[in-house]
């Protein structure tokens, strides 16, 4: 009885050690991820997450990869378009939100978002491109709407509160006020209109036709 139990314990311990090894490293082999068929013919040919992701800047959530520095430092060089005539649109403006809440204010940086995404991914379906025009709520985000379309699904998850709620309220209030003053300068309207014109350039249809 005791011998059998010990053997069984040893077996459990051995399998646990193996599981813990990749649980600690963060990336399960495809054959153990619960999705891939370990007996499928393709499994040996596919790239393993650990092989690719362990070389990228590390993180503690999501894919355990800090994707923004990975892109900005050129560790990865992902393509920006397929069609040669597709416009590439970037925009650099911080938006400060939740200036008077109980959490620190949110700084939404357009720059890293537009490095990955096109304007049309968020505007105007998810967010109206106008300060104060969007009723943004954590309740709705947690349901997978607004920011939660990506954050919590593919971008860093909603457990990482302070990555968005990152600016002290008084500082955010000042920065937002400075933005408002800058926006009120004589040429600000023209610059904004120019930006809007550029941003509203419709995407050219992809060569084979967009569904």
């Amino acid at each position: 009885m005791l011998g059998f139990t010990r053997t069984r314990l040893l077996l459990i311990a051995a399998s646990l050690t193996a599981s813990l090894c990749w649980a600690a490293s963060g990336w399960a082999p495809l054959a153990d991820d619960g999705l891939h068929d370990p007996n499928g013919p393709g499994i040996r040919l596919l790239q393993q997450p650990g092989d690719a992701l362990s070389n990228l800047p590390g993180d503690t959530a999501g894919n355990n990869v800090h994707w923004i520095p990975a892109l900005q430092k050129g560790v990865i060089v992902p393509r920006e378009k397929i069609g040669k005539d597709t416009p590439v649109r970037r925009y650099d403006r911080d938006v400060f939100l939740n200036l008077y809440g109980s959490m620190p204010a949110v700084r939404f940086p357009h720059k890293p978002h537009t490095e990955w995404l096109d304007c049309s991914n968020c505007h105007d379906q998810l967010f109206k491109p106008k300060a104060g025009a969007n009723q943004i709520s954590m309740f709705v985000i947690l349901q997978g709407q607004q920011c939660g379309v990506c954050h919590g699904a593919v971008a860093f998850p909603l457990t990482e509160c302070r990555r968005c709620h990152s600016v002290a309220n008084d500082l955010a209030q000042r920065l937002a006020a400075e933005q408002a003053i800058a926006d009120a300068q004589p040429d600000a309207h023209a610059r904004l209109e120019q930006m809007r014109r550029e941003a509203s350039v419709p995407l050219l249809p992809s060569p084979k036709g967009t569904p």
Binding site: L9, L35, G42, N121, A153, K208
Partner: protein, 128 residues
């Protein structure tokens, strides 16, 4: 009767074991496509966001190619892919492997439900 120390270790290991073996360790944002695959006699498709993200920015698929950003809102057919739409914009033998490499995409376990999976902190939109 087991010595109490051993029994405690056993119980602890059993607890950790059940914790480790029950969840799915899918990589964050892996998507399973299986609304049609198994009905057509193929394994489900596993789409790994991490793999594609290294090589393409989100906007390529979600703006240029027209993939909506919601699991379940894109009905992808092999006909479309062969016509160069959806996955077929790259999986055409030029940019990425061609559609005849069935098993590289149709690599999932039989019986998987379609949807987005995550191995770390969330299970995707609406199921946080």
């Amino acid at each position: 009767m087991m010595p109490s120390g051993l029994r405690r270790i056993g119980i602890a290991l059993a607890c950790i074991g059940s914790f480790l073996t029950t969840p799915v360790f899918a990589e964050y944002a892996d998507v399973v496509l299986n609304r049609m695959a198994e009905k057509e006699g193929m394994r489900p498709v596993i789409f790994p966001h991490w793999f594609h993200r290294i090589r393409f920015r989100c906007k390529v698929c979600h703006a240029e190619l027209g993939f909506k950003m919601r699991a379940g809102s894109n009905l992808v057919t092999m006909g479309d892919i062969i016509d160069g739409k959806f996955c077929g914009a790259c999986h055409n033998g030029n940019i990425a492997w061609a559609p005849e490499n069935c098993d590289l995409c149709h690599s999932g376990k039989p019986g998987l439900p379609p949807g987005i999976f995550g191995g770390h902190d969330t299970n995707g939109p609406g199921r946080w």
